[in-house]
Amino acid sequence: MADALVAAAGLGKVYGTDIATRALEEVSFEIGAGEFVAIVGRSGSGKSTLLNLLGLLDTPSEGTLHLRGTESNSLDKRGRAKLRNELLGFVFQYHHLLPEFSVRENILMPYLISGGPVDEAIGARVDETLRVLGLDGLGAKNANDLSGGQKQRVAIGRALMNRPAIVLADEPTGNLDTENTEAVYSLFRTINEEWGTTFLIVTHDQDIASMTDRILELRDGKLVQDVRNAYAGAITR
């Protein structure tokens, strides 16, 4: 328990006060460092709600969440923002890049928010990220001038900038074609294997889920399945 990277215990979420909607109920699980996990379930089953709780974008109505040993309810808004910046990387369905900034600056943004000095090592890190993402030579371009697949790769680069322990991806390929979808997942896998980054990926694509190491399935806000996929690694390779 103590060494789990993510530990959810009895997590629940109710939206609204007048008309209460229960989106999540009694969800408990633990995830260790370096795991590559899919969260599946029908639309409205609570996947995004769970990811937002794990990502400290929202607070649970019940239960506790430990991230690398820190209890999320003990943090104030500022503390949550800080931990989010240091520990977590997000990839959303939509790329959410800042159109006012170049590709390079978009990738650098989480680091700039952390307030660190932009030195040579950081410049090299951005270069490495661009290379890993297959975005060599596009750093100076405006984020708006890229194709959809490229934009999503920039968003992934941004999520990886602070070398987070956990990447949370909410239907990251929902807006991409098959080719780009496959590219994104093999990228996730490479990073997971080379850097040991933990991935939690929300998807409703069974093929993709089957390529992960572990699948959490939600139904009506409840965790109904938590299975390890022994063959996943073999399939991707």
Binding site: N52, L57, A81, E86, H96, L98, M109, S114
Partner: protein, 381 residues
């Protein structure tokens, strides 16, 4: 510095909007600087014309023509009063200047040249010759000189009504700033009027006093009235009540114009920032999701308003100076009017108010930003 950088990018992303609001601030501040300096200079020029070279407080006998005694006590009191910058005892003699058929009434103001200089600034105002005011010399105004073609070196025959006419040598011609004074006033040494009026050495037509602050005259005049019973103490502010009232209502209306201009500027910046905050709500949500603190996202809007406020104000001050220069040039060309002096204090206040107003208008977007929940933005793509 990240909020500043982002603010700058936001502003650059919509240059037309940014430039418009900067222009709006600039116009507001330029009007401020121009109107403020115009009114202040106009009033300064009017006050200067009224009292610049006349006494602020005059002590005289209540009966016209009767002398006031400049006693040792009075000398001590006047010299010992704080704020008194010049004390000039004068003797005034009404004479007729005969020029062929014309008989021109003139008032001779008699005193020591050095003393008269303190109030009338004769040496500064001498346009021809010199104003030494030695025995037998006279200094006349420009209009009189022009009308009767008099130049330094000419002699004037003056008749005071008592005794024989006297002949005086014109040594200088002065411009007293108003044509009435230039036509009717002349200056002589102290002895001629004294002899003609039959005054003792300590008797004068009036003791004229100037103060460092002309607007502080009333309490001083009141105090002197108590100390010198039987002496008429005149205060320029009482004698020019109408002018001063006009000036103060003019100031009031200029303040009102300025307040409305500032309100318009404030509304302009505030609405632009509010629009900007709505336009950038996605970006703010993303930055928050990436871990930017509320204080920093709020600071983006503060920086935006600082950038627009400072550059708009700077541009406005420059434009204001331009307007002042243009106005001064225009009126100088037409010969009418007066120079506008830029008022540094007033400009400093305009600058401070301009920037403060810009900062205040950042309050609403900053507050809304703090309230924004990043989830809303992220889920609505």
């Amino acid at each position: 510095m990240l909020p500043l950088k982002i603010a700058w990018r936001f502003l650059r992303k919509s240059p037309a909007q940014t430039l418009l609001i900067i222009a709006g601030i600039a116009v507001g501040i330029a009007v401020q600087v121009f109107i403020g300096s115009l009114i202040t200079s106009l009033q300064g020029s009017l006050v200067e014309k009224t009292i610049g070279s006349s006494p602020h407080i005059t002590l005289a006998d209540p009966t016209d023509g009767q002398p006031v005694v400049y006693s040792a006590f009075m000398q001590r009191v006047l010299a010992g009063t704080k704020g008194v910058s010049a004390i000039v005892p004068v003797r005034e003699l009404n004479v007729l200047y005969s020029n062929g058929t014309d008989k021109v009434p003139l008032t001779l103001t008699g005193g020591e040249a050095g003393k008269l200089n303190l109030i009338y600034r004769l040496s500064q105002r001498t346009v021809e010759g010199v104003s030494t005011l030695k025995q037998g010399e006279i200094v006349i105004g420009t209009d009189l000189a022009k009308k009767y073609l008099l130049i330094p070196g000419d002699k004037m025959l003056l008749n005071s009504g008592s005794g024989a006419p006297v002949s005086l040598l014109i040594t200088g011609i002065v411009d007293l700033g108003s044509s009435a004074a230039n036509l009717r006033t002349a200056f002589v040494g102290p002895d001629l009027p004294r002899a003609q009026l039959g005054f003792r050495a300590d008797q004068y037509s009036a003791i004229q006093v100037q103060l460092t602050d002309p607007f502080g005259s009333t309490p001083i005049a009141t105090a002197w009235r108590g100390q010198f019973p039987g002496v008429k103490v005149s205060d320029w502010q009482v004698d020019n009540k109408d002018l001063l009232q006009a000036l103060s209502s003019q100031s009031l209306s200029s303040y009102m114009i300025q307040v409305f201009v500032l309100v318009a500027v404030a509304l302009g910046i505030a609405s632009t920032l509010a629009i900007s905050a709505v336009q950038k709500v996605k970006q703010i949500g993303i930055l928050k999701a990436l871990g930017m603190a509320d204080g920093d996202t709020g600071a983006i809007f503060v920086w935006q308003s600082v950038i627009m406020g400072v550059s708009g104000t700077a541009l406005g001050v420059l434009t204001g100076f331009g307007l002042i220069a243009g106005f001064t040039f225009g009126t100088a060309k037409s010969g009418a009017g007066f120079p506008i002096t830029p008022q540094p204090g007033f400009i400093a206040i305009s600058v401070a108010v301009g920037i403060l107003v810009a900062l205040l208008s950042a309050i609403i977007p900053t507050r809304n930003t703090a309230r924004l929940d990043p989830i809303e933005v992220i889920q609505n793509g």
